[in-house]
Symmetry: C2
Subunit: 399 residues, 2 copies
């Protein structure tokens, strides 16, 4: 039911086919983010029309609302959300990171997005209050929805994800921050390894091969830890590997970190880089041998009228900008998406200025299509041995 076949290589980059009980995914591929079992205002038909192959939903959020029990009762995630293709659920580690140390330090996966820990805090300590505590057995956190205390354990998240019913599920990990020091990062990584073993044992206790369990590699931005983590995870023999956690303080460091990790991971298993989706980052990660990417950016940016354009600075334009007021062209003249084949920039701008929700829908359709198209180009380029040329074409015009 599960498999991963590499069908072409271009240096370290690979084009492959990931097989799941709900269909195959041509890789490298973008994974559409459906946090609450919905991809913004897009239906399954919309996604299929654009070439979306796989969706990632969120264990933390779905556990809180509507709960894995309800989703199981409704026939599992695929039936609940009406999506016929492959689904991934993450373990919730990153969301808990966001509530905990990420909140305290005000950082994301790459520190440069928030260059320094924030000064403002609720308790005067220079830190925002964490809603999370980590111990050997698991993670205790406060629900951001209703303030109730909750607990995730390595075994518990396997049970939750069994009930959610995704094709690919992840082990529980602790996500560290770019500001965590070497000692804490090592300590945390080793705990994440013990959790991975416990998760795998729990998973194997009742493995019907309807789901595949992937291990999450940690180790922060420290080379020896990253390599150690990749080697450890590889030894466990997971079906696939996700690369999570801190990726350093700058984009350059991130690319280096991704390179270290993939080196030590097994060649024949699929690799998912969690939560990264900037065009230049994805090119670099594909070159390092990453197969899957998920990022909320295409849908999140669409909410404010930021739309992707291949030949533009940072690959995006803000459609609310006054210069688009009477622009009769589509977002991108070469784009084949629903929005670009029907509507002008002027109309899209008008919709955003008038706060019409149809604007968000049209921008989302374009942005998701943009990502899917980019990965179609990347897959073809790998097969034709010209990934580097494609990358240069793309990056040269955007800077």
């Amino acid at each position: 039911m599960f498999g991963f076949e590499i069908i072409a290589r271009d240096r370290k980059a690979r084009a492959g086919t990931l097989t799941t009980p709900h269909g195959t995914v041509a890789t490298p591929s973008f994974v559409a983010v459906g946090t609450h079992a919905a991809v913004q205002a897009l239906s399954s038909e919309d996604l299929l029309m654009m070439g979306t192959q796989v969706i990632i939903a969120n264990t933390y959020h779905l556990h809180l609302n509507p709960g894995e029990g309800l989703i199981k009762k409704m026939g599992g995630l695929h039936a609940f959300m009406g999506w016929p293709g492959p689904v991934v659920t993450d373990s919730g580690g990153f969301q808990i990171f966001s509530l905990g140390i990420g909140k305290e330090q005000g950082v994301g996966k790459i520190a440069s997005i928030f260059p320094a820990p924030p000064e403002n805090s609720s308790d005067g300590s220079g830190k925002r209050k964490s809603m999370v505590s980590v111990d050997e057995e698991g993670i205790t956190f406060t629900s951001h929805c209703d303030g109730t205390p909750r607990r995730f354990t390595p075994e518990g998240v396997i049970h939750i994800q069994r009930r959610l019913g995704a094709d690919i599920i992840l082990t529980l990990d602790e996500c560290t921050s770019p500001y965590h020091d070497y000692d804490y990062t090592r300590q945390s990584m080793e705990r994440t390894h013990r959790w991975a073993v416990r998760g795998l044992e729990e998973f194997r206790r009742d493995d019907s091969r309807h789901q595949a369990l992937w291990g999450v590699v940690q180790g922060g931005a420290y080379r020896d830890l990253r390599e150690e983590s990749a080697v450890f995870m590889k030894q466990q023999g997971f079906d696939g590997y996700a690369v999570g956690g801190s990726l350093g303080k700058t984009k350059d460091q991130m690319i280096q970190v991704v390179g270290w990790k993939t080196q030590s991971l097994p060649e024949q298993a699929p690799r998912h880089l969690l939560g990264i989706g900037e065009v230049e980052d994805m090119f670099a990660a594909v070159e390092a041998g990453i197969d899957l990417f998920d990022c909320v950016a295409p849908t999140l940016l669409a909410r404010t009228g930021t739309v992707y354009v291949g030949k533009s600075k940072r690959f995006r334009i803000h459609i609310r900008n006054a210069r688009f007021r009477d622009d009769q062209k589509p977002i991108e003249e070469t784009c084949g998406c629903y929005t670009c084949s029907r509507y002008s920039r002027a109309y899209l701008r008008h919709l955003f200025m008038a706060r019409e929700p149809f604007g968000i829908r049209l921008a989302t359709l374009h942005n998701v299509y943009f990502m899917e198209s980019l990965f179609r180009l990347i897959r073809t380029a790998i097969k034709e041995g010209r990934l580097e040329r494609l990358k240069k074409e793309w990056l040269s015009v955007s800077h």
Copy 2:
């Protein structure tokens, strides 16, 4: 290019065909509300799929944003919004009413929605401050967008609507409130009549038959005024008639007022009841001989998760209600809409609880389909001479 043919009658109700340069409309029909040249998050394909025949856009709003000049430059409303079918624009009279006396008195078209003038006000006079003043020549108002002073004249709104390019356009009217007395209502009605004549003269100066001008009947809830207004408008020989303004203080009175008006309007012209869209009201108005209805309710209610159900109190349920938490049924088991054929109430409720915009889209698709289906049933019932039975079936279960 324009025409209206009555093909069946059931007492005073009529089933007909309205012909416009952008296609025909089987009447009685619902007119989807696209205030800012967009129907919430629905595309033209979505609307056509559900059987929507005609859209009404808003002269007041489109004049302010993005402006009729831009829309003309973009090829007119049809091209701008990508809608191939008939479009109506209203004259802006009702929106100015909302900013003026409607705001002062806190009332809508039927006073019972706001049972009494509000106590709270900004200037201590017991009234909210009006942003509007009416004189013989036209209406001066303050833009709700940028606070600039604007002026609508009977000739000016013809020019604006020429540039917007809808198929059917309306004369400028002053909308009165259910709390206006007889004398003011008469004075206002007579001014609206003079404006209608001026609008018609301006329209005929350059009539290429690409647009049809309809007159707006006023006169409040006073029988002699309503009849006088209908007779006056009829004498002007408009292509069609819209019934606007105050419709009394209760729903029963509204139904009576609509009856008075339609009696004196020409039998062979189409009649549009502006801004009314509750199921029971539409049945009553169809029985009085109304052909077209527009109402923001289906899309507005969808935003908060209120969805139409034929066999339910007030024809609606609130999908956020806890009793739908694990309800595997669609909104309506007999409904053929996109939403009902794919998704459970439980999923829809989950989307609203998680504030996912896909919920609004699914609810809107259902509500618009509900209205279009109801009018399909109404048209068939008229042709088969059983409108009264259909009405009884519908109203008996909802009370």
